[in-house]
């Protein structure tokens, strides 16, 4: 059977049914050597007062009255639209030398606490801005604004993740300072945000030791997409039965490249290494913008 129009070559004759489908994209389909549309069959006639009979072929394409069917090959990514917006965001960030980190985690991992502590410790050295994603409420953006840095809340409503289009709109309002750092706190969800590129430089996955050490295996897509994993709440380790080595081993199984830092946003333990990581990522970002590196945070 011809896979392009659905006609059966040996049971349907197609007189006056030319096989020059208008594919609209200049691709020619190969019928294979045994499949010649020599239009000289005689048991199926078109036009010239004769009956038009489609009944003997498979019904998929040749439904009576819908004979204009054609196949178009498009080969497009389903998330192509999101990726276009993400690339536009990425270009904007590159031109301005803004380091963008997309923070992802399950709800309750201590993401907002980690972020407020980070901002409090870094705001004197860098221009920081925050985009907060949650299904509802502006509580988190308010918590961030209390630290004195600009923050914008995006409520996704029914949505389970931020997408690049939402972030693009947030940028119109937030307008991050060139050479600064933009944190995007994604919706607490270890599944969906993995697939949606926002144009960030890195995804940072936050996992707290009050969760299971096998989370990287349970939610592999997220840990695969992240460049850095922050293992948070390590001040609680003495009270828990959490195997740190095993957890790191699982994370590396799904992503051999992932870096892991152990931190506590409450006690401050390990946070200096996280700040080093941010500072170095920012320096990488600013290699193209030496004039911005000379500004605030030059010695970070």
């Amino acid at each position: 059977m011809c896979t392009v129009c659905g006609c059966g070559s040996d049971e349907v004759s197609v007189e006056g049914h030319t096989h020059e489908h208008d594919h609209g994209h200049g691709h020619s389909h190969d019928h294979g050597p045994e499949h010649h549309h020599a239009h000289d069959h005689d048991h199926h006639s078109h036009g010239e007062g004769g009956d038009i009979h489609y009944g003997t072929g498979p019904a998929r394409a040749h439904v009576p009255g819908l004979s204009q069917s054609r196949m178009v090959e498009i080969e497009q990514n389903i998330l192509g639209k999101n990726d276009e917006y993400a690339n536009a965001n990425r270009r904007f960030f590159a031109e301005r030398g803004v380091l963008v980190l997309n923070l992802v985690s399950s709800p309750g991992s201590g993401k907002t606490t980690l972020l407020t502590r980070t901002i409090t410790d870094l705001r004197d050295d860098f221009d920081v801005a925050v985009i907060e994603g949650d299904q509802q409420t502006t509580n988190d953006a308010e918590r961030i604004r209390e630290t004195g840095v600009p923050a914008l809340q995006i409520n996704t409503g029914k949505g389970c993740h931020l997408d690049a289009h939402m972030v693009g709109h947030a940028l119109e309002k937030l307008d991050p300072t060139p050479g600064g750092i933009l944190f995007i706190e994604n919706v607490g969800n270890l599944v969906c945000p993995a697939a949606f590129d926002l144009g960030e430089a890195h995804k940072v996955a936050i996992l707290s030791v009050t969760e299971g050490e096998d989370k990287p295996l349970k939610y592999p897509d997220m840990f695969h997409a992240a460049d850095l994993m922050l293992l948070n709440k390590i001040d609680l380790l003495p009270y828990l039965d959490f195997d740190v080595e095993q957890c790191i081993e699982y994370a590396r199984r799904v992503n051999p490249r992932i870096q892991v830092l152990q931190v506590s946003a409450t006690s401050g333990e390990g946070m200096d290494r996280w700040y080093q990581w941010i500072g170095m990522s920012r320096q990488m970002r600013l290699l193209e913008h030496p004039e911005l590196l000379a500004g605030a945070g030059a010695n970070a």
């Binding site: 394409a61 178009v72 080969e75 639209k81 993740h161 697939a195 897509d221 699982y250 199984r253 992503n255």
Partner: protein, 113 residues
């Protein structure tokens, strides 16, 4: 995961292509979905029907080609097939695998009027 959003993504592509390629009805949508893409196919099929209702692809038939995942095993120095990101190499048991395909999420072909 977010099969509803993905279907909305498909619909956006269909609407854009309809303008570009001059068709007004989509009768069949053929997708390539890799096993590592995170797409739950039954959920996708359900969402597809709901999202396409009242659009140019109402009642369109959905066909999904499930693609296997390939990974390069650094130990064996060859390409192997895996089913999940945390799988070990089926030959040597190593986790030193570089996944090379399997996260596809692509609209391959359409049958249109």
């Amino acid at each position: 995961m977010h099969e509803m959003s993905l279907c909305e993504g498909v619909l956006q592509v269909l609407e854009t292509e309809a303008g570009k390629q001059g068709f007004s009805k989509v009768k069949r949508v053929i997708l390539d979905i890799g096993v590592l893409s995170g797409v739950e196919i039954p959920a996708f099929e359900f969402a597809f029907e709901v999202v396409m209702r009242g659009t140019l692809a109402e009642n369109a038939v959905l066909e999904i080609n499930e693609l296997p995942a390939q990974a390069w095993c650094l130990m064996c120095a060859e390409s192997v097939t895996v089913n999940a990101r945390y799988d070990a190499c089926p030959k040597c048991g190593s986790y030193q695998l570089q996944i090379s395909s399997g996260d596809e999420m692509r609209i391959k072909e359409l049958e249109v009027d």
